[in-house]
Symmetry: C2
Subunit: 236 residues, 2 copies
């Protein structure tokens, strides 16, 4: 699915400025360097200055190839999205394919720092994101879910995946910065267990379960929740 045929670019992506390879600075090089920083230090660590330094130049040079940081992040997000493998849709296995699709998407997002933040800010419309959306729609439609439910479900699923990935990315960042998340969650757990039982009886009931499961398990549960909910919309 890597487009040999030209991908459709949203009209508001400013076209690269004629690509005169005078010095060795172009979108591709910039994006590669940006990806590296993104994975290592997250969006906040990815400043235009930091990126320029990495490329051995000044921040102003970047603006010849990218409109601003927002566009840079949009481009990065779509690049990342492009790494999600897209199977040929098989209606008899829509459930399985859907789960795999979004689980991989989730994993790939997490691998790339907190890039998921981008998806929470604006609807992703890059060519690669569109491919994911298309595949998801195809699977849901073929499952017999009515069009309106499909349309709204796309939104809900994307939101859940992105926010879940962001949460994991923040944990990863915490780890990177010194505080292991286990320690943090242990503190949280202690705090919870220390709450007065009389005031929080229901939470006391599930205090142990709250910290069970790694992020994959927890994500899988939520995704499954959405899919099971969707199944109730299937019309025969």
């Amino acid at each position: 699915m890597t487009a040999a045929d030209q991908p459709i670019e949203p009209p508001w992506w400013t076209p690269r400025k004629n690509a005169g390879p005078r010095r060795a600075l172009n979108r591709e090089v910039i994006l590669t360097a940006a990806r590296k920083i993104l994975r290592a230090e997250g969006i906040d660590g990815l400043s235009m200055r930091r990126l320029a330094t990495e490329l051995g130049t000044g921040p102003a040079s970047l603006y010849a190839h990218v409109a601003n940081k927002e566009e840079l992040l949009d481009l990065l997000f779509d690049q990342v999205t492009g790494e999600v493998p897209l199977p040929e849709p098989d209606p008899t296995r829509w459930r399985e394919q859907l789960t795999t699709l979004w689980t991989t998407a989730h994993a790939i997002l997490i691998e790339n720092g907190d890039i998921a933040r981008v998806a929470l800010g604006r609807v992703p419309l890059g060519p690669n994101a569109l491919n994911v959306t298309e595949l998801t729609s195809a699977l849901l439609c073929s499952a017999g879910i009515p069009p309106q439910a499909v349309a709204w479900a796309l939104d809900a699923m994307a939101l859940y995946v992105a926010s879940s990935a962001l949460e994991s990315a923040i944990n990863a960042a915490m780890e990177r910065e010194g505080t292991p998340p286990e320690e943090y969650y242990a503190r949280v757990g202690d705090y919870m267990r220390g709450l007065p039982r009389a005031r929080y009886p229901a939470m006391a009931e599930i205090v142990e379960e709250l910290s069970n499961g790694d992020r994959q398990e927890r994500f899988a549960f939520g995704l499954e929740l959405l899919i099971r909910g969707l199944e109730t919309h299937i019309e025969k």
Copy 2:
């Protein structure tokens, strides 16, 4: 539910510094002013300088009452959360109460700019957030949903509500800044309709449905999805 009994504060909230009311600057005043800016201009508009100016002082003065901006936002978030009305749980109406609870929470978050961003960054553990969590757990437990599912569902629901609220808040901000969301979505719609049908057949099928419904409807659909999914976990 406004605590006449002292609410339990997480241990990492720094206690207000002895509250010597020498001049008229304290947490309450600061939070009130911050709320005002937050609603009008969002988190990015709420800078420490802007806030200080509003209070007729310099930014340094704020740090006597609040550890840093992160803590300020945590406090604001919990204050907002405190405005969600909490009914006495009635197990026979758990479904209805749950829907109302989270729908109001969603609405209240949106009323307060993009404060939902705070909830996506870290697990909300303020006293008021705990009350919402407690009520939700109580309702789910009483519905016969097993503890592990309750625990993980809390996470999924909170994530969905927060991310959904954030999305709406961003639209609201767009409106505030001049570009009406309708116009933006019209452009997006046009872009979608302009996509080659052969390449995106499934999306072409639902292109009209994609822009149907206001944010409440769309949110309600996703919430319903989660609840229906949860119902499949009920053990008799």
